[in-house]
């Protein structure tokens, strides 16, 4: 397959996924925040809370529309650009997507209409239930697609069938409750809740800085900061579990996240660091130009044991007999056996030679877990882009820490003091909105760049997964998406900022 094709296919997927991810987190979190506000309105009957609900709902809708627009392409892009992948795993991957459609999307879209147009058409309670169902529905949508993503990082519950040349599901529950999928789901929706809280406290802070809509802004601030503080603690916990899962299931990714070349026990985490650009896997340069390390932290984070051995990239590429880690070359050799055995099997079956077919099948089964390695050319190929993964991970973690601190202090000051007096803090809250988006995107970069070269961990590298098509086609569609999504994003931001300027009093 031509090399540019894979790059363009990846670029297009990254582009569309990252655009989609600008809008999803707000939908995930703001849905619940709006539902909480409306619950208070229904309970108290206060018009103030109704106005607040309607204002945040308007912003929710502006964001929701473009989230839907950028979302539809994601579902079909597995087919259009990753056709081989789609066949190879479609028997597992398709099911969560279909269940998502049946259970989640209809809930979201049906009650979305009630939530927006039903104020005077249905009763108060029915309306409130609808708002909650929109929030629950959108979070359920996230569940199924993240289960699918979790499966790609850690394939479970399936068996390879050489007759159909694909993986077939044998245990749905194992797919659904895979520890990687669960951790991924919790951490991802958690990040959505934090993003939405940042959005609410940031906009409220802007009103306070302008000295307008003060009562509204203070109330919104309390809701946002409370929700934000609770969910950012949840985010820390789910992040810890995610890292633990990465350590167990994708040690190469963990090593790249930390720029760890030589494995060690009692490994620390680099809190702040600058990577040495001259460092490669096969030279002895020091990996960092500058670093501040928290001792024991990586062993603790990865394996929940401060003495645990954390393998470095060198151990994983070249093997480490003492620690029982086999080298990538050995895996490539086994992978090549598997790939060859599959070809032999197909040929023998065609020739109706069942004895040979069975022999080939045995070799295939024995080496199947390294099947994807059979397509690699060199052991070094298993190393993802270290710098991208490292910096993305550190940006995400640092910002996550800042957000937790920000929510705590905003909440404290809102309750105990007049928050309007703390202008510097309010300014910081406004600027934390874009930081939230950066943190979220960085998280996905860690997850997806960090698992390169795999489309499906150990089973299928991206080079095999892509649809066979001339790269010019994908290049053209890439620019079409880039243009259209950018135009829509500009429209969205302009509409959103205009509505914020109009404020809760001016419109609906």
């Amino acid at each position: 397959m031509e090399e540019h094709l894979v790059d363009w296919s990846r670029a297009q997927f990254a582009l569309t996924a990252m655009y989609h991810w600008i809008f999803v987190p707000l939908t995930l979190g703001l849905g619940f925040i709006v539902a909480i506000m409306e619950s208070i309105y229904v309970k108290t009957g206060s018009q103030e809370w109704k106005k607040m609900t309607k204002f945040w709902m308007t912003l929710f809708a502006i964001n929701f529309a473009i989230g839907v627009a950028t979302g539809i392409i994601m579902e079909f892009e597995f087919g259009t650009n990753w056709a081989n992948y789609s066949w190879f795993v479609g028997d597992i991957f398709g099911a969560p997507l279909a269940v998502e459609g049946i259970l989640a999307f209809f809930m979201e879209s049906t009650f979305f209409a009630v939530m927006f147009f039903g104020w005077d058409k249905v009763g108060k309670k029915f309306h409130l239930v609808s708002t909650w169902l929109v929030a629950i529905g959108s979070n359920l949508s996230a569940l199924w697609i993240l289960v699918a993503n979790g499966w790609m990082q850690y394939p479970v519950g399936m068996e390879f069938n050489p007759d159909t040349v694909r993986n077939e599901m044998i245990n749905f529950w194992e797919v659904l409750f895979s520890p990687v999928a669960v951790a991924k789901f919790l951490h991802t929706i958690g990040s959505g809740y934090v993003m939405a809280s940042l959005f609410v406290v940031g906009i409220s802070a802007w009103y306070l800085l302008k000295g307008r809509d003060v009562v509204f802004a203070k109330k919104s601030m309390v809701v946002g900061a409370t929700f934000g503080l609770i969910t950012s603690l949840f985010l820390v916990l789910s992040g810890d579990e995610s890292a633990h899962q990465v350590a167990l299931k994708q040690p190469v990714k963990l090593a790249a996240m930390e720029g760890l070349y030589e494995g060690k026990t009692e490994a620390g985490i680099v809190g702040i660091g600058i990577l040495n650009p001259d460092k490669t896997i096969d030279n002895d340069e020091h990996p960092f130009l500058f670093e501040v390390e928290a001792p024991y932290a990586l062993s603790l984070l990865g394996y929940h044991d401060i003495h645990a051995f954390v393998p470095g990239l060198k151990d994983l590429v070249y093997g480490n007999e003492q620690r029982g880690i086999i080298s990538a070359q050995e895996k490539i050799d086994k992978g090549k056996l598997a790939v060859q055995a599959l070809e032999d099997y197909k040929e023998a079956k065609k020739a109706n030679d069942m004895v040979r077919a069975n022999e080939a099948r045995l070799i295939l089964e024995e080496n199947m877990r390294y099947f994807g390695y059979g397509h690699l050319k060199s052991p070094e190929q298993i190393v993802p882009p270290v710098a991208t993964t490292f910096y993305a991970f550190h940006i995400m973690v640092t910002l996550g820490g800042w957000f937790t601190f920000l929510f705590a202090i905003l909440l404290y000051l809102s309750m105990k003091k007049d928050i309007s007096d703390y202008r510097l803090l309010l300014t910081a809250a406004v600027w934390s909105i874009p930081l939230g988006y950066i943190a979220g995107e960085a998280g996905w970069v860690v997850a997806e760049v960090g698992r390169q070269p795999w489309a499906i961990q150990d089973l299928m590298p991206v080079g095999i997964a892509a649809t066979k098509i001339s790269s010019t086609n994908v290049m053209i569609s890439f620019f079409m998406f880039a243009t259209l999504f950018t135009l829509l994003l500009i429209a969205e931001i302009k509409i959103m900022t205009k509505q914020i300027k109009i404020g809760p009093e001016g419109g609906h």
Partner: protein, 377 residues
């Protein structure tokens, strides 16, 4: 006894019926798309246009969701179709998706202040979605009868044999018949929907007029399409899985599957009946009858090519790569698992109907749209 005890073939047929049902529901809900093409024709001022847009604007997500589910169900139940057709006919599907991407933002952004592209652009987006999106979907489905150019390798990976990557379907004039049929059908159901949901005489009168014109055009294209498929050679598969070309295959299928034929005839008659009642008796509830009729008709056409040893996605460059519901489906386990999930469908349809009923029992009026407190598109 559960789904797990069923034969693989039974599960494949069950899932083809669900796909057919979803296809039918999707074509029905294209009244939103058809309505979008009528927003200027049926209105004489901004308020009337806003009434029209708000009427279908409360339903567009349902159509969108049905499309998404249609894709998801195909991926899960017939993954080989998903990978072959979406990956192969790249440009047809991407073009359709572009037509839907622009729809999703247009309702919400159309009249918002500072919307960057301007109201006119968003209305053009809605029309592109209504005309081009629907037309291309018709063309894409028409290749189920005319065939596509692909072959599968020994890994079942798709190789497309035409550099136009799907757009070559536009070079076959027969494919236009279904494309235009869908466009005019959607305009008819769009008008029927407006009549039922908007309580305002001038719009209702114009809608009736538009139904008359579109019905003539629809019948012209649809009858030609039917004449074409009933007389053409079809793609059949024998018990050994060998694909052959068979004379009058689709006609034969109707004769050999009287239930499907009956469904088709009842469906078509219901659509005609709905249109007749709307025009002659000025009834406002015809979208329901017409809708059921559309679902039946489309289902019957899908069942025709899925059942009775028929190929539903033929390859004209490598006949033996053609897809049938037998050779393109998910495994027994996956189909069984999803069949349990499919038991939720009646429940889902139930709450959609409930929400729909609660919202539509209060008709859209001029007063509501002009009220300052309304959430309008």
């Amino acid at each position: 006894m559960g789904f797990g005890d069923l034969e693989l073939l039974t599960l494949q047929q069950y899932w083809w019926i669900i796909i057919s049902l979803l296809g039918g529901l999707f074509v029905f809900i294209m009244f939103v798309q058809g309505g979008q093409t009528l927003i200027d024709t049926l209105s004489s001022n901004e308020t009337e246009k806003t009434m029209l847009i708000n009427s279908i604007g409360r339903k567009w997500e349902l159509g969108f969701t049905t499309l998404v589910l249609f894709g998801g169900a195909l991926f899960a139940a017939f993954p080989l179709f998903y990978s072959t057709s979406f990956g192969g006919a790249y440009w047809v599907w991407l073009s359709i998706l572009f037509c839907f991407i622009i729809q999703a933002v247009s309702y919400e952004y159309r009249t918002k202040p500072d919307n960057f592209l301007g109201q006119k652009t968003y209305e053009i987006f809605l029309k592109i979605n209504g005309f081009v999106g629907v037309f291309l979907l018709g063309v894409a489905i028409s290749t189920f009868f005319s065939g596509a150019e692909f072959h599968l390798d020994s890994n079942f990976f798709v190789n497309w044999d035409n550099d136009l990557r799907g757009l070559e379907a536009l070079l076959n004039p027969f494919n236009y018949l279904l494309g235009f049929s869908l466009v005019f059908l959607a305009r008819i159901s769009g008008a029927l929907y407006f009549i039922s949901s908007i309580d305002y005489e001038p719009i209702r009168d114009k809608a009736v007029e538009s139904i008359k014109q579109n019905m003539v055009l629809f019948l012209l294209f649809f009858l030609s399409f039917m004449a074409w498929i009933l007389t053409k050679d079809g793609f059949a598969v024998d018990i050994n899985g060998v694909v052959v070309i068979q004379e009058y295959k689709y006609f034969t299928n109707f004769i050999e599957m009287p239930i499907v034929l009956g469904m088709f005839i009842v469906g078509v008659l219901m659509v005609i009946g709905a249109v007749y009642t709307a025009i002659v008796f000025k009834k406002t509830c015809c979208i329901k009858t017409g809708g059921v009729g559309i679902v039946f008709t489309v289902m019957a056409i899908f069942l025709n090519i899925g059942f009775n040893g028929t190929v539903y996605y033929p390859s004209v460059t490598d006949l033996q790569s053609s897809l049938t519901i037998m050779n393109s489906s998910g495994s027994h386990y996956t189909l069984m698992t999803m069949s349990y999930a499919s038991l939720m469908i009646p429940f889902v349809l139930g709450y959609i109907a409930l929400a729909w009923y609660s919202m539509d029992k209060v008709k859209i009026t001029k007063e509501e749209i002009e009220s300052p407190d309304a959430h309008n598109y």
